[in-house]
Amino acid sequence: METLNHILNGFAVALQPINLWYTLVGCFLGTVVGVLPGIGPAASIALLIPVTYGMNPASALIMLAGIYYGAKYGGSTTAILIRTPGETSSVMTCIEGYAMALKGRAGAALAVSAIGSFIAGTIGVIGLTLFAVPLASMAIEFGPAEFFTLMLFAMTAVASLTGSSLPKGLFSMFLGLMLGTVGIDLQSAYPRYTMGVIELQEGISFVVVAVGLFAVAEVLQGLEMLVRGTAPDVIRISGKLLLTREEWRRSIGPIWRGGVLGFVIGVIPGAGSTIASILSYNMEKSLSKHPEEFGEGAIEGVAGPEAANNSDTAGALVPLLTLGLPGGAVTAVMMGAFIMYGIQPGPQLFKDHPEVVWGLINSMYVGNIMLLILNLPLIGLFVRLLYIPRAMLYPLIVAIAAIGIYSVNGSVVDLYMLLFFGVAGYLFSKADIPITPLVLSLVLGDLLEQSFRQAMTLSDGALGIFFGSRITVILISLTALSLLWPLFASRIKALRG
């Protein structure tokens, strides 16, 4: 009954005019960054955090979440019209959506993408509403050892599943954790690795790291593509933005299946929406009566992956809100935002800040409706963004990043660090090293160390505490499995030939 009251109260928060406005702003910005190359949702959210300092936390988080799920809608537009995924999760839409566009059915591809995203996004939010409280209640019993093993599992899973090699993922993870140790130690007040630089005493700002790695690095890659002359052409929208009866009949099943699959995958740390959309695509291909149409513009290949990609967003918020555990780059930045507003995501969140968490969740129902409107009748407006010359766009992104970063502390040192991490992100992409484990570890590093030290204090230094309960044993086993998974996967692949 108490939960029901909180949910209803959450609707009252979400439907306040000011929060409706911020939902709209977030969804609009999300669609824009989804369409535009060079700046994704992680960088956009990181950039906007300083601007939202003075805002009510519920309103700020509603807007930032709008950017997160709005970008998923926008990402499909570029996938369909220029065969470039605005977000990596739209990679499968590139295949079928672009093939549909070449056949003169770009309108139908965009329509099924928007409608599928709306239905699946709503399925995801219903799942989030249903599962959040039971999971949070379970996690409330967690002690430091359980939290340590849980975070360890999340980080190793992300390191293992993102990128092409486990050592590179782990390399990125350890660098993130090491960066997290810079600054004054929270328990002993001892300054670590500050090298006498006063600005480093408070640690390395995750906003600087996130914007550098996601936005500036993307700009450097974009500039390289520009001089290489590999920027793609835009296909004009053709055909009605409506589905025929046959297209609708073929799409509805994939949308539902993709919606459920995406939500489940979203809950698993590290799996992410790209894996959700690839799995959905393969599932639809295997279920289809016309698998030969895949690759030639099969509408199921747009409907399923786009649905999975969108419901994954709500799924990813389940561990973030209930356990304080981000499973990917955007949720890691979202967690940083929560902490900056003085709110600790985790089991206590639903008790301590029900108006914030339920306002945020319920705003997503409204946001999905807004996005449907933005992405169907107004799609032509967003497509215009694709015609902005990239040679203008990239320098502007650097200037926007400079405003966002400088406004935090008014320090040029932060700008130099921004450039440093931008170059690091560019080099990471050249070396095929994933950056998500680094950002995730940087955000979780402090909590991981505190949990470790608290657990060790409780056990008088005995490591057995990490094997002392059923939960820790399961989580340690999952950690080991995630580390061994690439080995198993390559063996299975080799056996299959």
Partner: protein
């Protein structure tokens, strides 16, 4: 080549990190482990990861010939542009407070757009100036975000 550099970087970085951790003064007041225990684990973890990277380097040696065949000439030109853009961005940040946001951003944008979008002098110039001064006024006057005025009197 990238794998070898990553491996070397991991070894050097982990070694320096562990050395710096070893320089911490011992503290056992409130916490039996002290501030150095967790970083030590991280340093060791990175060294173990370096072993994994070394295995990848050795495996990659086998396919080195194939990779060398796939390389195209003239790659350096593209990277030179990225290095140039990075240096120009560093200069932009160096002048950020001295010249002020609006002036430094105008110059930065104009130079970048002039290089990457040649021949469109009017639109490049107008975009650079209007964006820089427009965003300066919006952020400082409307959103009350603090940005350096520099040489500007306002």
């Amino acid at each position: 080549m990238a794998n070898q550099i990553t491996f070397c970087f991991a070894v050097v970085f982990a070694s320096v990190y562990l050395y710096a951790t070893g320089q911490f003064a011992p503290m056992h007041l409130s916490d039996p482990l002290g501030p150095q225990a967790f970083p030590r684990l991280l340093g060791i973890g990175l060294l173990l990861t370096a072993v994994g990277l070394l295995v990848e380097v050795l495996r990659a040696r086998k396919s080195r010939i194939a990779a060398a065949e796939g390389k195209t000439s003239g790659e350096g030109r593209y990277y030179a542009v990225v290095v140039g853009a990075t240096i120009w961005t560093a200069l932009y940040f160096a002048a950020f407070e001295w010249l002020g946001y609006a002036i430094s951003t105008s110059i930065y944008l104009l130079a970048m757009m002039s290089y990457f979008r040649r021949g469109k002098w009017t639109s490049n110039g107008l975009t650079s100036v209007f964006y820089s001064f427009g965003s300066y006024l919006i952020f400082t006057r409307l959103l009350l975000v603090s940005l350096p005025a520099g040489l500007l009197p306002f």
